[in-house]
Symmetry: C2
Subunit: 138 residues, 2 copies
DNA sequence: GTCATTGCAAATGCTTTGCAGTGCC
DNA sequence: GGCACTGCAAAGCATTTGCAATGAC
């Protein structure tokens, strides 16, 4: 368990029961959830929480840089709470599950056996993010 | 221009005017289009082509392994026709534009200046694809 | 007390689906 | 000529938005 809650409080994020529950659900997980899964787990602790509120809270956390939005397949986005720890992702093409991994060598060498968690790894994929000339201009 | 059309014919893909136009629109492009952009360009050549048909054709091409579905942001999927050439992606966080790049060194070294195409690159991201134990079982 | 946050429900964007008609092989 | 492909319109998810009521600071 990490100190996500404390960081949020320290940064002056107005704390409500709903937001606390969303942050608690995410906190430190190494298997990332979709907004709907976060909502389902939040409901277990706070039955009246709405989907819109979960989306609001997740959007805030992303804007604060405490959580990273991961959209690696065409389905629902997933939310990665380990924004401050450098890591890479292991994605299941079958069910969309995403796990954090921490390999040491170059990605092109493939993922070490010890970091595969039982997955059958078939490809490594690299994406560079930035702004294109047009978007950088405005 | 590549030989996508010929490969498709050779593999026995039933050719229709609509499918040909979709394949022609994609063929060899290094900036990848969304389904809607493919539809727009297809309409320019074949006004009565429907969106559903474009989705069908794209889905087929992906199933055949001739085109790769790229879903790097939470928006519309984009279609990469260069499935047979190893390459990486350069993504604009502003507008979602995706371009192919062909860097030589390790991704962790960053993207060489000659491969940036005017982008301001801020991050490199690695994803390993495969099947999780549960999905591999079935 | 004020103003941000919540919940609801309706709207949006992208994609898929059902089904009758069309046309490729 | 059979059966796969097409077009249309309607349905389906994931997500966003508008707005009145609520509650944190």
């Amino acid at each position: 368990m990490s100190d996500l809650l404390e960081r949020l409080r320290a940064r002056g994020w107005r704390m409500t029961a709903q937001r606390r529950v969303v942050a608690e659900v995410l906190d430190g997980d190494h298997v990332h959830l979709t907004a709907d899964e976060v909502h389902a787990r939040a409901v277990a602790r706070l039955p009246e929480i709405s989907r819109a509120t979960v989306y609001n809270a997740l959007g805030d956390l992303v804007a604060l840089g405490e959580v990273v939005e991961v959209a690696t397949d065409g389905r629902a986005k997933r939310y990665d709470p380990n924004a401050h720890r450098p890591h890479q992702h292991l994605l299941c093409s079958g069910c969309g599950l995403i796990r954090d991994v921490h390999p040491l060598g170059s990605p092109l060498d493939g993922l070490p056996e010890t970091e595969r968690f039982g997955f059958t790894v078939s490809a490594a994929e690299v994406t560079y993010r930035g702004l294109c000339p047009d978007c950088a201009r405005s």
